[in-house]
Symmetry: C2
Subunit: 319 residues, 2 copies
């Protein structure tokens, strides 16, 4: 999802860090969609990084910037131990090794999307930049390992890496899915679409969010910032918006009215409540802010971004 | 070195956690020495864990306890990138995967020796249990990754892991070597042996030490403690003794007299000073202390342990 949005944005901008883009290779395990209007070569490739030789072929053309987003997501990595390690660890390592293998002074910028799931409870209410990595999922473990590899490969001069720990992406477009975090988006997206949504946790549940548009902005900023100021700490917690579910709902009310809010049905789910209790609620992402990363101003903006980017500015329930 | 001392101690005790030891397999890349007097089967094996099938063969007999100490050490892992990742990451992963592969309810205790090199400057003067991992060497990176794997495999129920971050081992027996940390031991061991030793850093340099005897004690305690109280945080900073070089020297003077101290020659080395400046100086290892891990009482004890365990209680320089 974010890869597609990033490609659209690159196609729209036509340039990165002031340099015209000449070619974009889009690699995914399924046929990647092409951006709608690009003034440069776009080459979609069906590729599994963990397969022998695939990463080597991909970096052979020596791209200046590599965005590495590919991942088996949280629930799937927990359900299938081997598949998660294969894609999230072996695939990432194969990519880094292929870049190192070129040598010859080749040292591309590598932007890696990590996750706040590298942190696991117990932690402070507001998590600082020095919080230790204590993942409570295999997904979080694999991302934490990838962060360590990215930092070491950067320190050794094999590549120029920046790891960005994304907040939970909200509002996630598409249909409701089985992810435990899905309701954070469902309770906004579905009502805006005139549909009912289920809220499985109490209204006071606090979490950390960023819009898809902000996430793309983080990736572009990570691709262009001066990494000299990062030192050896290459991985950063991205800024976001910390709100309770109640605050999410009030934002929805302000943007789309009472009719939208009435479509949220409270249906407490003990399992989801227990999972969410282990998640971070708030961060103090000082380093990222100092380095110029910018999140949405507040949750109202997150709702408005969804309406602009996904609904063509039109809200059904409010009509 | 620590593996040999652990084997001697197991041979001496004949039991672990109140259970008689029936068999000890000693695996190393070079022919491992046998403990001098063991009442149980001892099987030395020359084995490279990173080689296909080797780890599987080693765990086939389903040992109740696995001590995993093997590593390409700091300087070597920095000098040879591939060899460090092969042994320290791939070898460790092969071991964990082999244990997981047995399945069938097999869930051994796995004691993994990690290192304070998972931490890298800048950090506070006294490092707490929640300090983030920011290794500044490939060795530290590989150990930090192994910690993450050990925790995830434990959380998933494939094994029952305990990772222990050892302080710098002092006094390290044997001859002076090229390790940047070697002088911490050299300035004690060599004078006790009537030999000169070079001190390349200022006297106020502070560092974190434990005797080889304490390190063996940590491993045995990690093999027997109730891991139920660890929760999902399976890796612990071990206690140690934080002293300046000046305090090391005063301990040497108290134990072995002025004649020993006069054998220390100050020869500042900018390179070593720069490396050591990035190392931890002191820890507050609360969790390990609560769990019953015990270090040497002070640096005097560290010196005495060396004299007892390595010199048969006899000091040359003081004679």
């Amino acid at each position: 999802m974010l890869g597609g949005k990033l490609a659209e944005r690159l196609a729209h901008d036509g340039a990165l860090a002031g340099e015209e883009i000449s070619r974009l290779v889009l690699a995914d395990v399924a046929e990647p969609g092409r951006p709608s209007e690009a003034r440069f070569d776009v080459e979609p490739v069906v590729a599994d990084l963990a397969e022998e030789g695939v990463a080597r072929d991909l970096v052979e053309s020596r791209p200046d910037v590599v965005f590495h987003l590919a991942a088996v997501v949280s629930g799937a990595a927990e359900a299938d131990f081997e598949s998660g390690y294969r894609t999230n660890l072996d695939g990432t390592r194969a990519l880094l090794e292929s870049i190192r293998g070129i040598g010859d002074g080749y040292r591309p910028r590598v932007v890696f999307t990590s996750t706040i799931a590298v942190f696991g409870a117990p932690f402070p209410d507001v998590i600082g930049d020095d919080q230790c990595h204590t993942p409570l999922t295999s997904y979080g473990t694999q991302k934490a390992i990838a962060e360590l590899l990215l930092s070491d490969y950067s320190r050794r001069g094999f590549l120029d890496g920046v790891g960005i720990r994304l907040p939970t992406i909200c509002v996630r477009p598409g249909r409701p899915n089985q992810a435990a975090s899905g309701f954070f988006s469902n309770i906004i997206r579905e009502p805006l679409n005139g549909q009912e949504a289920v809220l499985p946790v109490p209204d006071e549940t606090r979490h950390w969010h960023a819009s898809p548009r902000s996430a793309v902005g983080f990736m572009l900023h990570a691709a262009t910032l001066d990494t000299g100021v990062l030192g050896d700490r290459r991985c950063l917690t991205m800024p976001g918006v910390s709100v309770t579910v109640a605050e999410q709902i009030e934002a929805l009310r302000r943007v789309a009215g009472d009719a939208a809010v009435r479509l949220i049905r409270r249906e407490p789910d003990e399992t989801i409540m227990r999972i969410v209790a282990g998640w971070p609620r708030d961060f103090d992402p000082r380093r990222a802010l100092l380095l110029g990363f910018r999140a949405d101003a507040d949750f109202d903006e997150i709702v408005r971004v969804h309406i602009e980017d996904e609904l063509g500015g039109r809200v059904l329930a409010a009509g």
